[in-house]
Symmetry: C2
Subunit: 334 residues, 2 copies
């Protein structure tokens, strides 16, 4: 049995030192009391943190490589939503036991994604405990150009990238929530959506100077869009039937489709607002990045009545008829 | 029962917004996908992260206020060891359930310390799960002035602040590891040492330009000093009887005293090296900061034989006679 220090050294410190070859963020990397970072001139450091807990954010039998990928991906997704360039991250890991094979898989999945985005491991902590992964990620963004949640404007289109709802469909299938038979291939496909989300980093960078407000969809569209609306003091109208979804999700009942697309969570697509004048530019960005961008609604100023308070979303269907959705965003304690 | 978002809002977001009054680090604080930080001109951002797990880093019945304090204190201690000024932190929290009274205590202990050090909460994550606290802390340090682990030089004195070993004594008493009776007052005193460590931030700042290498003592002197030695390519001689300890620890057997002072862990004092010429200045710093500083040994260059490889510590007693210590630093998986 390798000791804690030997395991950390083998699977994380050595990899982190190799990563100094592509890392450009840190004056001092892993191995001291602190790492030392500084942003390029005129840029800020964007910071975000996400914690993943076994049985809550991933199935207990998840493949270690996929878990390593997802742990960093959900954090990179926050950088994408700010329009920030990934630079570095710290990793804290609580493990029930220190198994070399598991740690090798986890670190392989983690560093494969880190290397793709030139994101250097600069610090961390490892301890015994129930399997928990906490990552804090750092990016660079030119001052004043970050995509903030409070920047939505009256008349903005509301856009989302990719498809929504597959991760929630997967979770429902694995939990047997719905009385539906699925071919094994569908199960595998949606499991990919749940376990190996692709952070929309390049899209986020392309949206700087084009989009107004942005957020990444981690807790479900209904809750995450409301964050933009409340911070911007705006309301929205959203066409629930326009929300992009995969063919496999479109084959389910309307109820399942709406639950998954509207309140699903774990999508890690971007939701952003942009002026109507940006539609042409966004068509180009979609083509250049090879990521579908779909218009699903409109931002508007609020009125003085309760039904149009900041944060309100008026849902309509494809025929523009109002519909009532009793779904709420994902709440970890409900 | 309050929802996750309501609890976060009440005990963390509102406090974080109040903290913007003293916070100076963030252009954009809590509530977006990322916070935006930038260091003052000519300074780096020092980053460190520590994770605390119930039953491992704290007793399951620990008072919530004390746990809030300790969670941030152990992170601030890393900034102290770099000579960095605290600026901001992120908090990730996994909770078995969301109890308002517990969260109120925890946030009170956390923010009381944060406010004392002008350290602003700029982001975080809350989820259901086994009680786990992960904090990443940010400080500022003028470029080139950080107290690194790799800067120890031949002939340096080795110093430690405060007393070592009380936290380990407390743990042993609460675990009934040793067949000793203790008056209740001693139990309470050492429990304070274990649960409310004081991060040596001001001392760390005073040591800039005076000390060579520094580290904070979290895993035990024997392991932490070895980090300095290996990174600096040096060895050390340490007088085990010179290690400062409280009167209550000095009243225990020699074996308990040595285990607690040498391999105890959880001290959160600073261990640093400094040239002999700095002794006068360090006496002044001790007086100004009202923190005892004690010389416990000497750094030296290594020779070519195995017994003096980098990282080696030669332990001697008060009579300068070599002694053999079979203790090792704290390993979370042993």
């Amino acid at each position: 049995m390798l000791s804690e220090f030997e395991l950390i050294d083998r699977f994380f410190l050595q990899r982190a030192r190799q990563a100094r070859a592509y890392g450009r963020a840190a004056h001092l990397g892993i191995g001291d009391d602190c790492a030392l970072l500084s942003p390029p001139a005129g840029q800020d450091i964007a910071v975000s943190t996400d914690m993943l807990v076994s049985g809550r954010h991933f199935l207990p039998d998840v493949d270690a490589i996929r878990l390593g990928h997802k742990s960093l991906a959900v954090n990179l997704s926050d950088l994408a939503a700010m329009g920030a360039t990934p630079a570095a991250f710290t990793l804290s890991l609580a493990l029930p036991s220190a198994h070399a094979a598991w740690l090798e898989g986890f670190s392989n999945g983690l560093f494969a994604l880190a290397e793709r985005f030139d994101c250097e491991l600069v610090g961390g902590d490892t301890t015994a405990g129930p399997l928990t992964i906490s990552i804090t990620v750092f990016g660079h963004v030119p001052r004043g150009q970050a995509l903030r949640r409070d920047a939505a404007q009256h008349g903005d289109d509301i856009w989302v990238s990719g498809n929504l709802g597959d991760a929630r469909l997967a979770l429902g299938l694995f939990r047997n929530e719905w009385d539906i038979d699925q071919p094994a291939a569908t199960l595998l496909d949606v499991r990919d959506a749940m376990e190996t989300p692709e952070p929309r980093v390049k899209l986020g960078l392309a949206l700087r100077g084009v989009a107004h407000a942005a957020i990444d969809l981690s807790d479900g569209l209904i809750g995450d869009l409301a964050h933009i609306l409340r911070r911007s003091g705006k309301m929205a109208s959203v066409n629930v039937d326009a929300i992009p979804r995969s063919a496999r999700l479109a084959a389910q009942t309307t109820q399942i489709q709406r639950m998954c697309t509207v309140a699903g969570g774990d999508d890690y697509e971007l939701c952003f607002t942009a002026p109507v004048s940006a539609r042409g530019r966004l068509k180009d960005i979609a083509a250049e990045s090879n990521i579908a961008l779909t218009r699903i609604g409109t931002i508007s100023d609020t009125a003085s009545d309760v039904a149009t308070q900041p944060g309100t979303i008026a849902w309509v269907d494809a025929a523009d008829a109002p519909i009532s959705l009793s779904l709420t965003g994902f709440d970890h304690f409900e």
